[in-house]
Every structure is written in structure tokens, then in C-alpha cells.
Amino acid sequence: MSSLRVDGNPVDGNRSRQEAGYAAARRRRHRSGLALRIALAIVACAVVLFPLYWMVVVAFSTRSDLFSSGLRLWPQSFTLENFQRVFSSFPISAWFGNSLAIALVTSAITVSTSLLAGYAFAQLKFRGSSFLFLVALSTLMIPVQVIMVPLFKIVTQLGLYGSYWAVILPTAASAFGVFLSRQFILAIPRDLFEAARIDGAGQLRIFLQIVLPLCKPLLAVLFFMSLLQTWNDFAWPLIALKDNALFTLPIGLLYLQGQFGSDYGGTMAFALLTVAPMVVLFLVFQRFFVQGFARSGIQ
């Protein structure tokens, strides 16, 4: 309101009055716009959060609550029976162990192979470099369902079927990881490498002592993204894991739902257990994640 009064002051020069008028109009628009924008943001967040909230409610509710007819948006009771039922009927801890082992090993391989390849594509000159880069990148387009039949044969012939490696090796090389690494390493000034080379450093030393320390954010991004992807991967593990004891969490979750059917309490209790660790990690690592995307040159 004070700016409006300034606007009406005849003593002010023409120009400053006009500017003050603009400022006031902008502030007014800003204030009504702000309320609308906050409302929109809250609605968007509610849409995202409600299904998750509902998963938690159902996971902690009794069976009779779920099947009661009326609409109740808040929990009627609190029970741990769903979790007890899930733990007593399924090898939950083995599934967690499988997922963790597969995710960690896959991520370690992805990070190291992506960094090496990314460095080669970004800083080394060799024949066929751009062709090989295009080949690597084009594998992004190939869904696992296109190659699943022959891939299954290869995995069996290599004797990997029935072990973690059947899941790990086919998903370990990441075209996206190579792409991200190349973009990141391209942004490092070439002078740094030239200087090290003139000082007599070999490529391996340059890689270990110059590239790696500069790539810490990239390492975090690659590792976390790979961990997330592997933890949540579904299509290939569904084909490659037949033995109940080797199941990863998503496959176990689907199997468990097959047993429980429309009894959602148990399914949601287990879904919550599989989702919670990744959501927490995701929120903690968020900074790296966003930074990684922003610095990858995708913009």
C-alpha cells in the first residue's frame, strides 16, 4: 500500500512516478500470484504424496479396516500384524541381502567402467572413437525385451544362470553412465592433462591422480543412480532369477503379491520396506543427483 501512496504523490518526477507505479503493480500481481502458486505447489505435492501415504496407512491397518465399505482417509487402527505375517512367510532378509549385493556390485562395475570409457571418449584420441561412442550410446535404445531371448541363452551358456552374475553382468555397462562421464570430463580443461603429460605422467597416472579427484561429484552421481536403478530393476531379473532364494526385492514383491492377492495389507507392508531405504537415500543424495544432471551438459 505504501508504494501506492508514493504513486499518487504529485511532487515526484514523471519518470520515478511511473517506475513506482510499475513496481507497485508488480508487487500486487506478485502477491496474488504467490498465493496461487503456493496453492498449486501444495496440490501437486498432495497428488504425489497421497498414494504413498495410503500405502503406509494400509500397511499398518488390519484386514477388516481395508474391507470396510465407507471412505476413511486416516488410519482406524494401528497394527504390526501385516509385517509379522510377511516376515514369517517369506525369506525377506535373504531378498534384502540379494538386492543389496547385486546393487552394490553392479554399481561398482558401472562406475568404474563408465569413468574409464568416459575419460577415453573425452580426452584420448584414437581411431574409431566417435563411431564407438555412437555405438555405445545407441544401446540406450535397446529395451531388454528385444534381446531377452538370446540374452537368456548367452547367460545360460556362460554358466551364469542361477547366480547373482546372471543379473549383474548384463546390466553393469551403462551407456548413460558413459555419456555422463564423457560430458563431465570434457568440461575439465585440457591444459591440465597437457601439463601432466609434459611432466611425464602416464595416462593411468593422469586418470588416477587428476581425473578421479576432480570427478568426485560425478562418482557420487553415477554410483547413486546405478544403485537406484539396480535396486528397482525388474524386467531382466524377472527372467534371470528363477530360484526363490535368489529373488531381488521387486521380484519378491511381485511374488508376494501373487500369494496375498487382494489382501493388500501384507503387500503394502513389504512394499513400504522395499521403498523406504531408497527414498531416504534419494533425499539425502538429492544434491548430487540434481547437480549431476545440471553439469552433464544435457541443458
Partner: protein, 321 residues
């Protein structure tokens, strides 16, 4: 292989030390720096190339070969030429799956990009608790497709689901999300949007943060209103993000599997069947693996065609460089 190596004789001498001779037993000719750089380059690429070669490219060739056979996966198949492809042309379920895949792509890609851009613009403006809003909106990215689909099943359950209960309590008719074919398709699309919009928002946010704020100041001074600033400044400036997202979303949509497989299994009566779920059913349920491979090859050709056309039509905004 031009220039450079001749200019850096001194460097070459300094850099070249006792490596094995590569050009047929002429110990006097030591490998040049360029040659060694090539060797290192190939060495660094080897792990990636082996993994991609054995587990992606080799199976890709295998898929084309198997698509010309009749095989159940046990023992050798019999060569049948293009019989599998001829069967595809006559197969109504294949056409239904193709149509569903195209429809799914045509809906999910623009809608998730528009919502993503809208939310990104919203959360790039001055707003209290902006960081919290951003964090909440990207949470679905951390959740597996299976869990997402099961939560979707829970919410959209037509007998006991919370969504139909809400509709009824508002006096609206409940929707048959499982037995109605359109409703089932819509439910798959909605769950996918819930899952995917966060990714689109994230990429657009990165794009928006790269825009110089003085451009908006200049636009305002020139009298551009909010919509004009959005239309003529924001949209062109996030063009590279849009290009990247268009390709990513189309590729994702062509390959949609987790959500469909878990939520509907392609049903009811193939109303939500897409190419990859149909390929999976043929390959690992009925074990008609040659036919499954043929579906996969068709899908791959579609993806490659799309990418090539897009790439060609917008070379000037190449995200790789």
C-alpha cells in the same frame, strides 16, 4: 591421424619408453605418443565394450537370427524365413499392442513434459519452502516400477480402492478400473504420469537455471507479460532440455513394461497390452521365442526410426556436443 605427431617430436621422445614393439620387430621404431594414446584409449574402453558386446550387441544379432526361426528355446530352432513377420501382420493382438504402445507414447510424452515444465517453472519462481516442494515432487523417481504399480493397483482397485470410494462419496459413479478397457488404459497412464513427471521436472529445472535472469528483466522492460515471457523466452531457452526429454520419454514409452505388466498384465482383453508385454508373453509364457524376437525387432526398428528422424530434424540442438 593427421598432423600433431610430427610437431611434437620432443614430446614423443620424452614420452616413449620401453613398450613392446608393435610394428613387426623393428626395435628402433618406438611407438609414438599418438599410438600409445590409442592403445590406452582402447584399453580404457575394453571393459565397457566387452560388457556391451557380449550382453547387448551379440544378443541383438541373436534376436534378428531367432526372429527368423521357430523355436521354444530348448534345442535348435527351425529356420522359417520371414514366417514370424508374416504372422505379425495377420495377428490382431500384435496390432492392438502396437496401437496401445503408440497411444501410450502419444499421451504420456507430451503430458509428462508439459506437467514437468509447468511444475519446474512454478518451483523455479520465488516461493517459500521451494526446496521442500522440489524434494517431494521427485520422490516417485526413487520408487521401483513394481512398487509404483502395486500402489496403483491399491488406489485404483475397483472393489475396494480408495479412489472409487472417493468418487462415490462425492456422489460420482465409481469407475471399473480393471474390467473397463478404456478405464484400465487410463489408470496405467495416470500411474505412469505420477511416476515420470518428477524426472521431467528435474531436467527442466536444470534447463531453467541455465537461463540468464537479465533476459527476463529485459523482456519485462520491453513490456512482455508473464505469458509472453513464458512463450517467447522460457520455451525456446529450454529447447535442448525438451529435445532430450522428448527422446527419453518416447524411448521409455516404447519400452513401458513394469507398470503394465504388474498393474494389468495387458488385460482386460488386451486393452492395455503393449509391444514389450506381448513380446514377454510370447517369449517366456507360451515360449514362442522366434515370434517374441520378431516383435522385439519391430519395436527396435520403430525406436531407431524415431530417433534418427528426430536427430536429423534438430541437428542444431545436438545434446551430445
Amino acid at each position: 591421424m593427421t598432423g600433431m605427431s610430427s610437431a611434437s617430436t620432443a614430446l614423443r621422445k620424452r614420452a616413449a619408453y620401453g613398450t613392446a614393439t608393435a610394428d613387426g620387430g623393428k626395435p628402433s621404431r618406438r611407438p609414438t605418443r599418438r599410438y600409445r594414446e590409442s592403445l590406452v584409449g582402447y584399453a580404457f574402453l575394453t571393459p565397457t565394450l566387452i560388457l556391451l558386446g557380449v550382453f547387448v550387441l551379440l544378443p541383438l544379432v541373436g534376436a534378428v537370427v531367432i526372429s527368423l526361426q521357430k523355436t521354444n528355446g530348448f534345442g535348435a530352432g527351425t529356420f522359417t524365413g520371414l514366417e514370424n513377420y508374416a504372422r505379425l501382420v495377420r495377428d490382431p493382438v500384435f496390432w492392438r499392442s502396437t496401437l496401445n504402445t503408440a497411444l501410450f507414447t502419444a499421451i504420456v510424452t507430451p503430458v509428462s513434459m508439459l506437467l514437468g515444465l509447468g511444475v519446474a517453472v512454478l518451483l523455479n519462481s520465488v516461493l517459500p519452502a521451494r526446496g521442500l516442494f522440489r524434494s517431494i515432487l521427485i520422490v516417485p523417481m526413487a520408487i521401483s516400477g513394481v512398487a509404483t504399480a502395486l500402489i496403483g493397483t491399491l488406489v485404483f482397485d475397483q472393489n475396494n480402492g480408495v479412489l472409487d470410494k472417493m468418487l462415490r462419496s462425492l456422489g460420482l459413479p465409481a469407475i471399473q478400473w480393471q474390467s473397463g478397457s478404456t478405464a484400465a488404459f487410463v489408470s496405467v497412464v495416470l500411474v505412469t504420469l505420477w511416476w515420470r513427471v518428477g524426472f521431467n521436472m528435474l531436467i527442466y529445472l536444470a534447463g531453467l537455471q541455465g537461463i540468464n535472469p537479465y533476459l527476463y528483466e529485459a523482456a519485462r522492460l520491453d513490456g512482455a507479460n508473464g505469458w509472453q515471457q513464458f512463450r517467447y523466452l522460457t520455451v525456446p531457452m529450454v529447447g535442448p532440455s525438451s529435445f532430450f526429454l522428448l527422446i527419453m520419454n518416447v524411448i521409455y514409452s516404447f519400452q513401458v513394461f513394469d507398470i503394465v505388466f504388474v498393474m494389468t498384465g495387458g488385460g482386460p482383453q488386451n486393452a492395455t497390452s503393449v509391444l514389450v508385454t506381448y513380446a514377454y508373453d510370447n517369449g517366456f509364457v507360451t515360449r514362442d521365442q522366434g515370434y517374441a524376437a520378431a516383435i522385439g525387432v519391430v519395436l527396435l526398428l520403430a525406436t531407431m526410426t524415431f530417433t534418427a528422424v528426430r536427430w536429423r530434424s534438430s541437428r542444431n540442438r545436438d545434446p551430445v556436443e
